[in-house]
């Protein structure tokens, strides 16, 4: 440790779910913790699609969905393949998803302040409106350079451990070479609008009631065939909607993010949901979609990385997750950092306890389970040909045009023959999909 006495036991940079929960749990252990946030208030810089899988947060704050500002409990998941003029959907509506809490929609500018308040109640010192510019490093007891604090403008703050919860761009982790710049096929840009609609209109259009809500995931023509997809989620009195576009594919296909977003929001299949909705906000967020491959080093001397800054996101095709993994990593970090502080060893060796807890948690288990998903989801047919095939089959099933009827198998064979999908593709994708998702 440095000659100078630290100002705090722990500095946490970034007041999103990863940072606020890490700070909260470490303060509960009795450590002095400062939570630094560059936004004018927690949540002011934070944006996500909007679905939080809440089981892990419920373990940290039992019953949070009853008291925190969550929007709706998702009891209806709709997955849609979209073509220019047709859609084929799988619609799962399940009351059991409401209790115990599974997924809720959140609006981060409202939800994250609640998390930060819980941290403050536990004794965390919140410092909003401050941008951390760099890490302070010094040789540690093991001779290796160790993080000893942060610098913000002319001010320096010192701590035994610095926790980087500074999001997907994590300048802090990159500044000490802990995380390389990810390749473009593992990155996507999310473009989102929040659109106001009256509560009753939302419930009527999405066939939900009370505090229940719907989450629509859409692939195909909504992104003009670009790898990624569209989303449409219900909040209490607004919708969160947008597209997520893989950067390599967006550039390769010569499109702009703006044009794809506007194509999506003016799509005839979406129009009935959005009619008369007024835009409340427009935002964007870089998404790391590499899954397991994106998780690299999360520990160095005096320093740990949590949440999106650590590359912890999963896109399984059907579910897109970031916040629950962020909270899971926060729980692991608080355990590991707590043990390192108790043992008086905050070198990389002492803090390796965090990595062990992370490896043992659901976070890494799920990342391993979906390890093959990113490569599978790079297959182009997901975003065009399969939607057309499905729409073709259902068209032939329901269109009684006077020609003699055929059995379903023959209808499907006919549609497959007319489509851009070969039998070989179907077998290859089917096998890969079953193993990856």
């Amino acid at each position: 440790m440095s000659a100078e006495e630290p100002d705090f036991d722990v500095i946490v940079v970034g007041a999103g779910p990863a940072g606020a929960v890490t700070a909260y749990l470490l303060a509960r252990q009795g450590h002095s913790v400062v939570l630094i946030e560059r936004g004018e208030a927690p949540g002011a810089k934070n944006l996500s699609g909007g679905v939080l899988y809440g089981r892990v947060l419920d373990e940290v704050f039992p019953g949070f969905a009853d008291t925190a500002p969550v929007e709706r409990r998702i009891t209806r998941h709709v997955t849609t393949f979209l073509t220019a003029d047709s859609s084929v959907s799988i619609d799962y509506a399940g009351k059991p998803l409401a209790e115990p809490v599974n997924a809720v929609t959140v609006l981060r500018a409202k939800f994250d302040p609640w998390l930060a308040e819980r941290a403050e109640e536990a004794g965390v010192f919140l410092m909003p409106g401050v941008r951390v510019d760099e890490l302070l490093t010094e040789p540690g007891p093991d001779g290796v350079r160790q993080v000893v604090g942060v610098k913000a403008g002319d001010d320096e703050l010192r701590a035994r451990v610095v926790v980087a919860a500074d999001g997907v761009n994590s300048y802090l982790a990159r500044s000490i070479g802990l995380r390389p710049k990810p390749p473009e096929h593992h990155l996507a840009v999310g473009v989102k609008a929040v659109v106001h609609l009256p509560r009753q209109v939302i419930e009527d259009r999405f066939a939900v009631s009370g505090d229940e809500g719907a989450a629509h995931a859409i692939v195909g023509d909504c992104t003009l065939g670009i790898g990624g997809g569209g989303f449409l989620y219900t909040n209490a009195e607004s919708l969160s909607l947008g597209v997520v576009l893989r950067l390599d594919d967006l550039i390769k296909k010569g499109r702009t993010a703006i044009e794809v977003f506007e194509h999506y929001t003016s799509h005839p299949v979406l129009a009935p949901y959005l009619r008369d909705g007024e835009i409340l906000e427009y935002g964007s967020h870089l998404v790391a979609e590499g899954g397991l491959e994106m998780v690299g080093e999360v520990v160095s001397g005096g320093f740990v990385v949590v949440g999106e800054a650590a590359g912890l996101t999963i896109n399984s095709g059907l579910t897109v997750r970031g916040m629950d993994l962020a909270i899971g990593s926060a729980v692991a970090a608080a355990k590991g950092v707590g043990e390192a502080l108790a043992a008086g060893d905050t070198t990389a060796t002492g803090l390796a306890a965090y990595r062990r807890h992370l490896d043992e948690s659901f976070v890494m288990a799920d990342l391993r389970t979906y390890g093959r998903a990113p490569a599978f989801l790079e297959r182009d047919r997901m975003y065009g040909a399969y939607g057309e095939l499905a729409a073709g089959i259902f068209h032939d099933v329901f269109s009684l045009d006077g020609t003699p009827r055929k059995h379903l198998a023959a209808v499907a064979r006919g549609a497959l023959k007319r489509s851009r999908v070969s039998v070989r593709d179907l077998i290859s994708d089917g096998w890969a999909g079953v193993r990856a998702l």
Binding site: E40, N46, R131, E184, L187, L247, I279
Partner: protein, 101 residues
């Protein structure tokens, strides 16, 4: 501002951005472009294509950045060639301030 920029179907980027709250840092831009490198590496076309806020545009053969409209996602930096773009977060308290998120 806020309270609705119009029906979502028909809005333009400036209209959508007008619904947001921004705290403009009048003293410094958080974006700098190396014109030479941006051109020679193809960074110019790439950052124009990926930016959801339309921050970047070509004007008289130069890439210009309207930093006041930045949504701070960092996507431009992710596709920029090394050295072509200097992009960091605005100073504390400045820039976009989400009320929904």
């Amino acid at each position: 501002m806020g309270g609705g920029a119009g029906p979502v179907r028909t809005t333009t980027v400036p209209e959508r951005l007008a619904a947001n709250r921004f705290v403009l840092d009048e003293e410094e831009s958080h974006i700098e472009i190396d014109q030479e490198l941006a051109r020679s590496t193809g960074t110019a076309e790439r950052i124009i294509a990926v930016c959801p806020a339309g921050v970047y545009s070509m004007q008289d053969g130069r890439v210009v950045a309207d930093y006041a409209a930045c949504l701070e996602c960092g996507t431009c930096l992710a596709v920029a060639a090394p050295g072509a773009l200097t992009w960091h977060y605005p100073r504390g308290g400045f820039g976009v301030s989400f009320r929904e998120g």
